[in-house]
């Protein structure tokens, strides 16, 4: 119980300390709002433009969710295919790793040309950027069961399908969720990049527009909305994780101090 309050209060305290310092410094040095608005001004802008922010936020959030879903599913399936086919593993793995060396910023404009200004280029960027952590964590996760555990299943006459569903897949879940959480934060970045490159709606679009008009308080309000959405997504994933990986919840968190 005490732990829980610390978990909530500690980051809040730190955040208010940082924001407080920011607020004071802006007033102290009389920084112009179009250079750097004070937190209070951002909050006011956030409140005044809440409806618009929510609307653009919904657009961006659906891009993030769809991108994460497609990228996650793609990464998941790819990892399984690669796991069960040594030939495809050898053929695909270097390409998958190589593909990660290409910055998404370079691909985004091409996608706009191919897919237009709508939802899909953003979803694609988000998917491309978020699939890699899942490929890595799923293929590691499927290797999680010990040789002895696999032997036990085989000795009982289990089929490969049974070994997958009853042993490898559940055993991979803790690792997979670690990957999913990384992917979720990347999907936020991906969707925003997609919007920057070419769009007429979404928080990325709003940031770019407001930036050009020196409406810095709105830029920051949009960033704030994006952060809130990212946190919501992350929190939802943690709730699902606790449900799925329920056996980890009983483990005591031991750390060397």
């Amino acid at each position: 119980m005490k732990d829980r309050w610390v978990r909530i209060l500690a980051p809040l305290l730190l955040l208010s300390l940082l924001l407080g310092t920011w607020e004071i410094l802006v007033h102290w040095f009389d920084v112009k709002p179009f250079i750097l608005p004070a937190p209070s001004q951002i909050l006011v802008a956030f409140g005044e433009n809440f409806a618009m922010l929510s609307w653009h936020g919904a657009v961006t959030f659906s891009e993030i969710l769809l991108g994460l879903l497609l990228g996650g599913l793609g990464g998941f399936l790819l990892a399984i295919v690669v796991f069960y086919s040594p030939l495809l593993d050898k053929a695909l793995y270097p390409l998958i790793i190589g593909s990660q060396m290409i910055p998404v910023f370079a691909i985004a404009p091409i996608l706009i040309v191919w897919m237009g200004y709508g939802l899909w280029p953003k979803v694609t960027v988000a998917a491309l950027i978020s699939f890699f952590p899942l490929v890595v964590t799923v293929s590691d996760g499927l290797r999680e069961p010990s040789e002895e555990a696999v032997d036990l299943f085989r000795s009982l006459g289990a089929t490969r399908r049974q070994i997958f569903w009853k042993l490898r897949l559940p055993a991979s879940m803790p690792t997979v969720f670690s990957g999913l959480k990384v992917s979720a934060t990347l999907a936020v970045v991906g969707a925003t990049i997609g919007e920057w490159v070419g769009s007429h709606q979404g928080l990325g679009y709003l940031m770019l527009q407001s930036n050009a008009r020196l409406r810095m308080n709105l830029v920051f309000a949009a960033i704030m909305m994006l952060a809130i959405l990212g946190l919501l997504l992350f929190g939802a994933l943690r709730i699902i994780e606790r449900r799925v990986v329920h056996w980890r919840a009983t483990k005591v968190d031991v750390r060397e101090v």
Partner: protein, 254 residues
């Protein structure tokens, strides 16, 4: 004991190739197991006992020779109940869910398996722990659960790889007693691997002593002590020191 052969090992050999070196693990080994008997494989650690057990379970192929389970030499996968050295319990399943794993793989009735499992939980002193997860069980309880899972496989041959090896002496002694009780009730054929001579004498009808690698059968001895056996009895202590001498001689010369 009606004398039917449950398991026949016919001149099985096995070797491993590691880089450029060729390591023979099993020299030709042959023996039969009578149905319903308890046989213990005793040998120095690293002599190939586990490899032999895996070959019997069908997990590894012998280089030559064959294994015949219940009269058939086709793949043994699925015909024995193998308990690996570590308990290999699935952490995401409750104790009961772990116990009925084999029935699930066989596609048998889950409810029937659960009823049977609950009876065995009682027998192994685990009743009340059916819905607990393995991480909440002590080492001894985990091992008991793994044994329940093995007994519930409905296979007639049990292959146990040092199931009590990692336990403290007290837990170990209690579990030996339990194990014996369940075995006498269920009439299974057991092949136990251990390096503990006392455990072998306490539990088995017959002891097979293996040599250092490459393993050969060094001694095939019936244990004619009356059950229940007492670890302090003269006869058992004598036989234990004989076995230990045999193992020591083998070990120190290598």
């Amino acid at each position: 004991m009606n004398g039917t052969t449950a398991l026949r090992i016919e001149s099985v050999t096995k070797s491993f190739d590691q880089r450029s070196t060729h390591i023979p693990v099993l020299d030709p080994i042959s023996f039969d197991l009578q149905a319903g008997t308890w046989t213990t494989l005793l040998g120095p650690s690293g002599c190939g006992k586990t490899t032999l057990l895996k070959i019997i379970a069908g997990l590894e192929r012998p280089d030559s020779g064959r294994v015949i389970v219940d009269g058939s030499a086709t793949s043994q996968l699925g015909s024995t109940a193998y308990l690996p050295q570590h308990d290999t319990l699935l952490p995401w399943r409750t104790a009961l869910g772990n116990a009925i794993l084999a029935s699930e793989i066989d596609g048998k009735s889950i409810n029937e398996a659960k009823t049977e499992a609950i009876a065995l939980f009682d027998h192994f002193g685990l009743s009340g722990f059916e819905s607990v997860y393995p991480s909440q069980l002590s080492g001894g309880m985990r091992q008991r659960l793994a044994l329940i899972r093995t007994f519930l496989t409905q296979r007639s041959i049990l292959l146990l790889d040092e199931p009590l090896g990692a336990l403290d002496p007290l837990t170990r002694a209690t579990l030996q007693k339990w194990l014996l009780g369940v075995w006498e009730e269920l009439k299974k054929t057991v092949l136990l691997v251990t390096h503990d001579a006392e455990e072998a004498l306490l539990l088995s009808d017959r002891i097979l002593v293996l040599t250092e690698r490459p393993a050969r059968l060094q001694l095939d001895q019936a244990v004619d002590l009356k059950r229940p056996r007492d670890r302090g009895s003269r006869a058992l202590v004598d036989q234990k020191s004989q076995l230990l001498n045999l193992l020591l001689k083998e070990g120190s010369l290598a």
